[in-house]
Amino acid sequence: MAFEKYDFTPLTQSIHQGLSENLSPLLTTIIEWTIIGVLYLLFIAVFGLLLVYAERKVCAFFQQRLGPMRVGPWGLIQTIADFIKLLMKELITPKSVDKFLYNLAPFIVIIVPFLTISVIPFAPGLQALDFDIGIFFVTAVSSVGVIGVLLAGWASNNKYSLIGGMRSGAQIVSYELSVGMSLITMVIMAGTMQVSEIVELQRGGWFLFKGHIPAVIAFFVFVVAGTAETNRGPFDLAEAESELTAGFHTEYSGIKFAFFFLAEYINLFIVAAMATIVFLGGWMPFHFGGFESFNTIMDYIPGLVWFFMKVFAIIFLIMWFKWTFPRLRIDQILTLEWKYLLPINLFNILLMATMVLLGWHW
C-alpha cells in the first residue's frame, strides 16, 4: 500500500545498525536511550507549549475573543514567553510544608506522561516500546499521577490544597475504572493488548466503525472518563478556581507549577492518543469501503499526519467540553461514575463479548 512508504522502521533500523556496527552493544543501548529520551523530552516540551497555545486560542474562539495576539504573529510565541517567565520565577517554598514531599510531587506528576508516551505509536515504526501488554501498561502507569497530586495536596499544608488533592484522589481512582473497562472492551474485540497490533488490526477499518454499537458506547465512556482523569473541565474539581482558588497546586510557583501545568496538557494528549489508537485506528488513514480512488488519495497522507489530525480532533472535543459545561460537584462526579458509567461499561463488555463470540462485528 502507498502509505507503507512513510514507514519509519527502515530509518530506526539503519540508525541501530550503524551504531551497533561501530560500538559495543552496551554503548549502543545507552546512546539509543539517550536519543529517545531527548526526543521525547523535546516533544513533550514543544507539544505542551503548542497545546497551551491551542487551548488559549480555542477557548478564545469559543468565547468570541481573539486570544493571545501580541507576542509574535497571532500570538504564536506567547506560550514560549510564558514558559520563559515561569522558568525565571522564584521557586517559593512555604515555611510549613513537608519539604521532601512538596518537592517530590511535581516530579511524580511529570514522570507519568513520560512513561505512558513511550508506548504510543506516532507512525509506523515510530514507537519506543512495543510491549505485548501495552494497553495494560498505559492504564497501570497513568494512575501513578494521582499519587503526585495527593502528595502535592498533602505536603502543601494548605486546606484548599488538601481538599483539592482529596477530591482529585477520589475522582481519579474512580475514573481509572471506566478508562480501564472501556479499553478492555476494545481489547476483547482486538484480542491483543499490543498497541502496534491493535493499530495493525484496524487496517481494514477503524474499531469505532468495526465494533459499531458497543465500540461507540466504549468510545463515549472513554472520552468522558479520560476527560475526568486529566482533571479537566467539567471535572476540574481538583483545581476548581471558584471554590478552591487553585486546588492542589496553590502553593507551587515557577517551574514546579509549570510541571503540573505541562503534565495536565501532556495527559490530555495521551488520552487523545489512546482514544485515537484504540478507536480511530492510530496512524491508519481513513478508508471508505468500495471507493478505491478515495482510499488511494487518503493513503498518500502520511501516517504521522493522520495520527495528529485524529489526536487534535479528540483534543478539540475535550476542550469543547471544558468551555461549555459548568463544573460538577464532587458527589455528582462519583455518582456519574458509579451509577452511570460503570454499569454502562459492564453491560457494554458483555455486549462486546457476545458480539465477538457471535462474530457480529465487521
Partner: protein, 160 residues
C-alpha cells in the same frame, strides 16, 4: 422495569441537554468574524468616544486664548470631592475699578469622580467634559492640572 426505562431516558435527555449547550458554543466558534474583541492601543485612530463621555474636565479656549471662566467658584462649591480649587486675583480695570478675576483654575484629576456637577452648574459654561480617557500617569503631581492657560483672559461679553 419502569425505573430502568427512566434510567435510560435520563441518560439520553441528559446528553441531549449537553449537546444543545455545545451547539451554542460551536455556533460562536465557527463564526470567528463575529468576534467582539477590540484591540485597544492599535485601534486608537478609529476609536471614537461618545460626545457626552465624561473623561476629564477641561476649559475650552478660543483662538485668542480667551476662556469664559469668571472665577465665581460655583464649581468649587458644587464639587463633592474637593477636586476643584479656584484661585482668584484682583486687578484694576480700565475704569479704575478693582475686579476679581480668575488666576488659576486648579483641577485635581486624581480626586475627580466625573459626576458632572461642576459642568452642570457652571453659570457661564466655561468648563466642559472632554472625551480623553487615558489618564494613567507615573507621577501623581501630573494629575493636578491648571485649566486656564497661561496668559489667557476672559472672553468679552461673558456675564459676571
Amino acid at each position: 422495569m419502569r425505573s430502568f426505562i427512566n434510567y435510560i431516558a435520563e441518560i439520553f435527555s441528559g446528553i441531549w441537554t449537553l449537546l444543545t449547550g455545545m451547539k451554542v458554543t460551536a455556533k460562536y466558534f465557527f463564526t470567528p468574524w463575529k468576534h467582539v474583541t477590540q484591540q485597544y492601543p492599535e485601534n486608537r485612530d478609529t476609536l471614537v468616544m461618545f460626545e457626552r463621555f465624561r473623561g476629564e474636565v477641561i476649559m475650552p479656549h478660543n483662538e485668542n486664548n480667551e476662556h469664559k471662566c469668571t472665577g465665581c467658584g460655583i464649581c468649587e462649591i458644587n464639587c463633592p470631592n474637593g477636586s476643584i480649587e479656584i484661585i482668584t486675583k484682583s486687578v484694576v480695570n480700565e475704569e479704575g475699578k478693582k475686579k476679581r478675576i480668575i488666576d488659576q483654575h486648579i483641577y485635581h484629576l486624581a480626586m475627580c469622580t466625573f459626576c458632572n456637577l461642576c459642568v452642570k452648574t457652571c453659570p457661564s459654561d466655561a468648563i466642559v467634559m472632554a472625551q480623553t480617557f487615558e489618564h494613567a500617569h507615573w507621577d501623581r503631581t501630573t494629575m493636578t492640572k491648571v485649566l486656564n492657560q497661561p496668559g489667557s483672559k476672559i472672553m468679552d461679553g461673558v456675564k459676571e
